[in-house]
Symmetry: C2
Subunit: 190 residues, 2 copies
Amino acid sequence: MARWQPGTRERLQETALQLFGTQGYDATTVAEIARDAQVTERTFFRHFADKREVLFAGQSDFLGLFTHPIEQAPADAAPFELVRGALLASGDFFDAEKRPFSRARQAVIDQNPALQERELGKLATLKIHLGALLVARGVTEPTATIAAETAVTLFHLSFQQWIAADEDRSFRAVATERLAALQDFVHPTR
Amino acid sequence: MARWQPGTRERLQETALQLFGTQGYDATTVAEIARDAQVTERTFFRHFADKREVLFAGQSDFLGLFTHPIEQAPADAAPFELVRGALLASGDFFDAEKRPFSRARQAVIDQNPALQERELGKLATLKIHLGALLVARGVTEPTATIAAETAVTLFHLSFQQWIAADEDRSFRAVATERLAALQDFVHPTR
DNA sequence: GTCTATAGTGCGATAGAC
DNA sequence: GTCTATCGCACTATAGAC
């Protein structure tokens, strides 16, 4: 008999999301999650640095989705085109099938300020990576940082709208709308 | 003899910043701050919801600085002009005299991810207030949210540069540079 | 895998301001 | 008398140290 079951990490994440959804985040203890997932509290904290992290671990795979199109772009591409390309490409990850899960996860996050702060922290990490990538491509400051901030902000706003209750358009369609709104905001056509 | 001295809140904030600066945030306990400020631990938590908050409480006065110029602007002002006005006006608060204090406070925040997350949370609150204000002025979505996000992001980036070690220009000068960089990023002149 | 420090909560009692 | 700031203490959960 195996000493431990495979997929402990994933089991903890699923168990946590389900408990958070039914009981609320604060009302769910780490001990409870661990018990339901058949491990000890100590094991939970070996997989996740803190209680909040169980909801966010694993989405760093998604960093590559954002940076890959930028790395592949022609060397003379303008920063705004790099951002546009990365934003639209990131939408491929968020297909219709993932929308229910994303909504359930976000519903938990939206109910707890501490989780909202962690979400912002993760986005800030993405901004820093993206800014460094743009600098490596020769974009100068302060443009590189502004471009990175703008890209991640547009991603976040697009994502929020994509999972809104009454939204059924694709991520790409929502993101395109926000890109246009930014351009019109900065340089109004009339 | 009085049971309690006036200005407990401010005393706790000053004591905390000093201890954080010398010992580090994690190495300083709430009990220690309370002892130095001549109150009990319980009193600390009556003034501040959590340990981090002692570094952030009080800066909500600064919200008005941001929103006031927008409320005063002519009804037909374009969103970008509202943002520009608010950003430059907020700079009046950050005069040369405040720079050393701001640098000391930020040095503590920069050393601790939990404090960085709280800072992002505070900025997110400002974004929400600002977005609601723009909507109340008749700006439609998604432009209102994009304008609010952009305004607060430009503020944050300007502030970060303003307190950089080698920076001696005024907040206004730094912010103006970032406004120009955004415009050039979104619609390059060449 | 166990043990412990710290953060943070709940509640009743108390002291002074009004 | 009411209101508010403080104290004091018991308590739980997180998180890190050993």
